[in-house]
Amino acid sequence: MGFLDEVIGLRKEERRPHTELEEIELTRVSLVDHAASGYDDAFLLLKSKDAQRLQKRASLGGAFRGLASGAVQRIDLG
């Protein structure tokens, strides 16, 4: 399992229900701003001017800081 899989979760074909959520309280809705399905899309997103402009207006979480710092480029995707 690669870095992004650990951060984002398993790919769809590997998913197995293992946890039921109960007594849910919803607090925040967000636009998924990275690729949950693959690394290439994440790189494309980093190149998007609109994405960069949006990211500048926000303080980024750990996962995207990792991408922005270039750490992803050194990861074995296999």
Binding site: P17, E23, T27, V29, D33, S37, S48, D50
Partner: protein, 150 residues
Amino acid sequence: MSFDLLAKSVEQRLTLLPIYSPGEEAVDLHGEFVRPEVLEQAIFALAKSGSREVTLQHAQDGAAVGELLTAFVLPWEVERPVFNGAGIQKGTRRFPPYTAFGWFKWSPEAFRLIRSGLAKGVSIEGRAKRRPMQKGGSALSRELRAGWSL
């Protein structure tokens, strides 16, 4: 949830999107699922008093990039053509009963991101009790309250 656009208005920067489907068959990226009646009550509470601001998923203190105008559940199974952000049909998708949907209005920048296909969906975060499943499918009694996202 993946970005399966059901309807949009370019002029108003509006999109109708699925938010979450309940049931074990609709297990999410984290291997978690929610029973229909639990999701329904949570969406009712969100619609009544929850935050309507939509931020980027990994922005801790980010500015709003959109607004959730309304959220609702449909108690019927729905099968509809779905589209990507550019309006190209991806296929047909079946949504199980009690799937939650939402109408969203986006900032110009976020809407361009959506139309370019680079936005991958919407996500809802909150709090819940986690009940790990046994191999046979029944829930263990151990409960854990923690942060999570759908």
